[in-house]
Amino acid sequence: MQHVSSIREPLVTGGKTLHDVTQDICYQVEAKPNLRWMAALSVALFFLGVFFYSVYRTVWYGIGEWGLNKTVNWAWDITNFVWWVGIGHAGTLISAVLLLFRQKWRSSINRAAEAMTIFAVICAAMFPVLHMGRPWLAFYVFPLQNTLGSLWANFNSPLLWDVFAISTYFTVSLVFWYIGLIPDFASIRDRAKGPIAKFSYSMLSFGWKGSAKAWSRYETVSLILAGVSTPLVLSVHTIVSMDFATSVVPGWHTTIFPPYFVAGAIFSGFAMVLTLMLITRVVFRLEDYITLEHIALMNKIMMVTGSIVGVAYITEFFIAWYSQVEFEQYAFINRATGPYWWSYASMMTCNVITPQLVWFRRVRYSIPLTFILSIIVNIGMWFERFVIIVTSLHRDYLPSSWAMFSPSIIDIGLYVGTLGLFFTLFLLFAKFFPVINMAEVKTILKYTVDNGPTYNPEKAHAAHAHQPAIHGAPASAPVTYNKHD
């Protein structure tokens, strides 16, 4: 028996029954693709084309196609890599950390957020692989014996740690996501009419039947996967930050990087989740599942992590001054007032000021404002990585080597191209896979509608007058089974 505070808003509105949940979420999978989806997919496919063209230029002509020079030898590629990996982190936070904290509201957003993680990591992985110049030799990063002798990989290098971190993160997220999908594929399979749908969803659902023993194991597996994913997600961005922190470049060599990067990752990830969810809930008519309450809660997490990031910026500046290291001090003064001051200013405005607006209830609960804020945060977080990487590199110890960086058209093409790749994958996911975890939403349904005082149908309908409850009263047997309380 679950106890809910009477001031809690319901997690699912509209008086949904179990069958309504199946119906609402399978609808998108079963219906013919609508025009808006096709339009969005064609735009995404166009940018995917841009991506393939940029990859072709990079691989055929070499890294010289990028705007790098011998001083700034890491720029947009690593900026985009860190940005994409960071975006992925919100998905794991929602699916693992919030599961451990028993935050029931995660149920209706975890599926799409995890999909976002997987696609973001795919986009991120493109950059280091392409920066190798000869991506077909990418297997050199694995500890395999060298073809000329038995020289192994260097396990002291943070770049190699990255290989392990990112590949573990990707495969673990994929498995976690897929195990969650199995029961929902079974729901679609059992509703499927056509032979192709029947066959494909039977293959995808792995013969799931929902027996009690299988569910019991499923829950154990989910809990343990969440348990191992939680330190994993923290380790991934920690290791990404060590790519910088273990070097001796002024502005990079700081111990604050791991927590600062993790907070930034979750910050930008939640911004991206908000962007995607605000679109998804409208396009797929899921306003009853992703309610204003969900948006407000995500906004709050964005505010907390954004504030941590803000504190980290200020701490970094303070420590540079306090360290008495001339180079460190110059690196920070140069960031704020040097030739790249505009990127520093954008980063500060977008990441420090924007999340503070969320203190206002009106902003937190406003869809258009949240949408704008989430986009601004994503831009700001991109600039953060750009500032850290380019402004630290372009003027380091040797003034005779100082240089400026400007991206080539191929740099821009690759970045915009990965956005195309990301949205292509996300749109395909949204069409063919259930975007909301049906089984999990069904477990919280009774919790939502059955606690008399917390649920007021009139109020819920007035606030979200979207789809009235059609299928009669909600499942309403009194909750008397309290063996465990």
Binding site: P143, F155, W161, F164, I179, R189, S202, K442, T443, Y481
Partner: protein, 175 residues
């Protein structure tokens, strides 16, 4: 081999849990219960033992950790020792990240494969089910019948008395 089942269809999880307890108390063996979502308390009601998967997970994790440490120490310490950044050949602090990642990697994949294997989950061309509504909104309790289905009328009554909204009979070929 074909088996016959009496299927009690329930609409609500709490009714189902009471029914399971009463039916088991009446001396009837419940074959299995199929539900659209995990029902809390069903393990105790059905007498399902706690899964030992966490123990398996621990051993998979240990395997990963030992493998990672062995790999790094063997490769950089013994097979081809190199001085990197003036550090010892076996620089244990630097081996921590990879050791951690491989621990998680082995835990996750080992446990997922174990879960798929013991639960019999693998891609199938078609999946016969007791009742298609069990993945939608109904809770299906299956009770195995003998060759002649002689207990069926008695079971129907028992299931009905315990709140089943429907009682059906179903033949399942071995799968």
């Amino acid at each position: 081999m074909t088996k016959r089942f009496a299927l009690g269809i329930f609409d609500d999880e709490d009714v189902l849990l009471h029914a399971i307890e009463n039916i088991r108390a009446a001396g009837v063996k419940v074959y299995d219960v199929f539900s659209p979502y995990p029902v809390h308390g069903i393990d105790d009601a059905l007498g399902i033992e706690r899964s030992r998967l966490p123990i398996a997970a621990f051993f998979f994790g240990m395997t990963g950790l030992s493998f990672a440490l062995w790999m790094q120490i063997y490769m950089l310490g013994f097979d081809w020792p190199m001085i990197i950044g003036g550090k010892p050949h076996i620089a244990l602090p630097a081996f921590v990240p990879v050791a951690f990642e491989l621990t998680v990697f082995f835990t996750c994949h080992g446990m997922a494969l174990t879960f798929f294997t013991i639960t019999g989950l693998y891609p199938r061309f078609k999946t016969p089910v007791m009742d298609v509504r069990a993945t939608d909104d109904k809770f299906v309790m299956a009770i195995e019948l003998d060759e002649t289905s002689s207990q069926f009328p008695r079971l129907t009554q028992l299931l009905r008395d315990n709140g089943a909204s429907e009682v059906n009979q179903k033949e399942m070929t071995n799968n």
